[in-house]
Symmetry: C2
Subunit: 258 residues, 2 copies
């Protein structure tokens, strides 16, 4: 007898794929996979033994939970088309308020926000992904916490306000860091150098935050206010006003806060 | 019979400590450790069975190589006080030109630049540290490549111009990334949230560059020009003009280059 809950996914992108596979591997029944692209629905459905659909009217109301893994800007319009309003439904976004569900008339809803960046072809160790939970009732909250704990160890209750600030912090820590890597890569390529030279340093810099607050690990010319080097760097960036501006602004900030 | 070269370190900070211990563990004889602080010289010397000194006039000329691991802004003045001018001498800095040695009358010199961030109490896997080599003659170059290869696998010839650009790229990839972590940490603390929530994401973001160019891995509101979220984030940063400015400038750049 299958005592595990059954789950339907609305969306078949990276987040849906990683979550569906993770729940499937833990013995959950994945019921339906919806995507507006039937091909995408089929691709994921095949991996988790589910039924692919590409019309929201084909959603069955027999599932325990509906997980919406869609781009932020389409969540509301898709919710508007879902007519099953009583069952527990969640989204996985860092920045969309939970009240998007009440606005669309849902009765049982919440957030299941996995704080990780999911790539198409790269496995993620789901146990270590922090899950942020919010729900409209304590009962739903308990259900979602239980669900998340079946996948991962770090499950926390985070309200919508906190979640937005967490998402903002993640933009700095991840999106902007990645852009710093991008600038570095471009500077290297221009000079016939290879990013491989910097990879160990980049990974060590990230790993250091496991042990100490990043403010304490700050190094470099800005930190020690080494004006001669800073001036040379600004000159070396003479052919990119944009990178010069970024260099100056961040350097100034690091120095001010040192 | 000990056929390994003997090495003297000028400096007893993080770089000297990691390199001296690494060479010592590979069977090199570490002859003297100089630091202007005798305490620091003794601390490192005890770890590598060397003689601590705190006067440069006590340097003996019996060693094969002298490795200068000092802060950029004191390298030249320390070199000026070293009277042994014939033996092979190198520094480990990313940004100081090799001609600092010729200016000070040295005859055999070069660069041994380990591209890694060394912390006092954190072991580094030295095999994986890229070493950048430059020297004033092919013979010295060969000696330094051999020396570096006895520690690490990725040893490359990099001239002073390239090294400066590599260092500039490292400032973006590492110093500035770390500052992005610092801002994130501060935003979290202000909102009673914990950086632990973001650690897996930060480390995964860094690890992704092993597999793909960072420009291809860019995600987030700036990348998809999600104006609603960007506007909300700018509002959330209302109490920090500095962070707002950084957010705006990097967001604008990511969007422009997408």
């Amino acid at each position: 007898m299958n005592t595990k809950k059954s789950i339907t996914f609305i969306g078949a992108g990276n987040v849906a794929t990683h979550l569906a596979k993770a729940f499937f591997s833990k013995g959950f029944n994945i019921s339906q996979i919806y995507s507006k692209s039937l091909t995408n629905a089929i691709t994921l459905a095949n991996k988790v033994n589910a039924v692919p659909i590409h019309n929201l009217s084909d959603l069955t109301d027999e599932n325990h939970i509906y997980i919406v893994c869609l781009k932020d800007d389409v969540i509301e319009q898709v919710l508007n088309q879902i007519t099953i309003k009583q069952k527990l439904i969640v989204h996985t976004s860092g920045s969309i308020d939970m009240n998007v569900f009440s606005k669309e008339g849902f009765e049982n809803y919440g957030i299941l926000y996995p704080l990780q960046t999911f790539s198409k072809d790269k496995d993620v160790n789901i146990d270590e992904v922090p899950f942020c939970i919010e729900a409209n009732t304590t009962e739903n909250e308990n259900k979602l916490v239980g669900l998340a704990k079946s996948l991962a160890n770090n499950v926390q209750l985070i309200n919508s306000d906190q979640r937005k600030k967490l998402h903002l912090a993640a933009v700095f820590a991840c999106n902007f860091s990645n852009y710093m890597y991008t600038i570095a890569d471009e500077l290297l390529v221009k000079n016939n150098l290879d990013l491989n030279l910097l990879k160990p340093l980049i990974i060590e810099t990230a790993n250091k935050i496991k042990d100490a607050k990043p403010a304490l690990m700050q190094t470099g010319p800005a930190k020690r206010n080494d004006k001669a080097i800073i001036e040379k760097h600004i000159q070396l960036l003479a052919d990119s006003k944009d990178y010069q501006d970024i260099y100056k602004l961040i350097t100034e900030n690091i120095f001010k806060n040192s």
